[in-house]
Amino acid sequence: MATRYSLFSLARHALTGKPWPRAWRAREPKGSYDVVIIGGGGHGLATAYYLAANHGITNVAVLERGYLGSGNVGRNTTLVRSNYLLDGNTQFFEHSLKLWEGLSHQLNYNVMLSQRGQIVLAHGPSQLDVLARKGNIMMLNGIAAELLDRDAVMRLLPYLDYSRDSRFPIYGGLLQRRAGTVRHDAVAWGYARAADRLGVDIIEHCEVTGFVREQGRVTGVETSRGRISAGRTAISVAGHTSQLAALAGLRVPVESHLLQAFVTEPIKPFVDHVISFGAELFYISQSDKGGLVFGGHIDGFNSYTQRGQFPKVQTVAECAVALIPSISRLRLLRHWAGIQDMTPDGSPFVGRTPIDNLYLNGGWCYQGFKATPAAGWCLAHTIAHDDEHPLVRHLGLDRFQRGNGHDEYGLGNWTYKQ
């Protein structure tokens, strides 16, 4: 069992020079669990942790096909925020942000939350009106937001392009000071360690190959390491939701697309906030190591390759230089792609499925990382009570059939346009 991390344990290890024990145990799968969670990403690990911590359900296994942190939890741009427009999103992501704010203490693991503030830019008066409306919606929900005029943006972000001939002049922006970044690997490791300490089995290199069904309901999973019985089973495999759902005989409103992220060579502290360009989907921040981390739209067509297309590299680099001309000569250190579930309304699915004892968490589009604590919190509640948590009631698999799509950006039912 891993020791509790503290100043005292840090000093003791420094003085004795003994290696740190494993953060979580390597487990062989048992034959049976109360709950099996498929997918050892941030969401699956958070679900296991909250099942144990909030609901006292500790006979839980998390099955991960690769190693922990190898999927989207380690591929995102690490942003957290709660500046949303639609009822449902606002409350859900604010719950998530509040959990982020207490997470390092809750998990006894430093996830390095940095509330540096996020600024969304407006490049025209009408766009600034939309941001004002969004800020008002946030404040009506008790979430602090500040509308910035052009001068205020200039004071905070003096390095943007404010020239008279700029293609996308800056009229102002909306600031959420509590938004920021989190070290994403630490989220996977912290949840894994905390869940392990509560008795959860984390089983890496264990691929689910099928579901065991009895009288229609799911009673376990077939895996590359044998059959495992489960009272309840949850799918939490962002990117491969369709494959797992198909093993259970379900077709879901999900297409898999590639989202790329980029990091430049490290430079001195320069970008102190998270900045979202308003003229294209583009967002940038600076990592603790000094690299500028940024991303844009999905590549545009469905793919499972985890390899980004070069034309998108160019588009995103053009956005970066349009926003901050002074970085034009920085070299890109790396770019990579994650497989992202895209849904017809840009919103995820969290809840029960038409199959008894089978639960689903997927379809996160661009929002998966910032949602990690709340998604785990709400899915754990849903599994424990066999009933959706109030914060995710609007995220049911059947919402399109009922005409209740939840389209934050008003884009219509196109997965690849969300």
């Binding site: 369709s242 297409e255 059939q401």
Partner: protein, 87 residues
């Protein structure tokens, strides 16, 4: 760079085209009132990891709509045909 062999224009970079979704789903009859069938047509996807038939429009070329065979696990591009066959 993915290259698509447009029946009208020849082999071109994929950036001249725009992806437009799964082409394998049969559209319900226009007068159909079967809500489940429309729901499946509009909202559900097989989303295979492998061979996929999909619509692309040659927006920066002849503007024709094509059906392209592509492998989503490798991005290997196959045959492209006109979405609407000649009369």
């Amino acid at each position: 760079m993915l290259r698509i062999n447009c029946p009208h224009c020849g082999v071109r970079d994929y950036t001249e085209f725009r992806y437009a979704g799964d082409a394998s789903k049969p559209r319900p009859a226009h007068a159909s009132t079967d809500v489940a069938a429309w729901h499946a047509y509009v909202f559900l996807f097989d989303n295979p990891k492998g061979d996929h038939e999909e619509y692309w429009q040659h927006v920066l070329g002849c503007r024709a709509w094509l059906v392209l065979e592509r492998n989503t696990a490798t991005n290997g591009v196959g045959h492209a045909r006109l979405a609407r066959p000649a009369p």
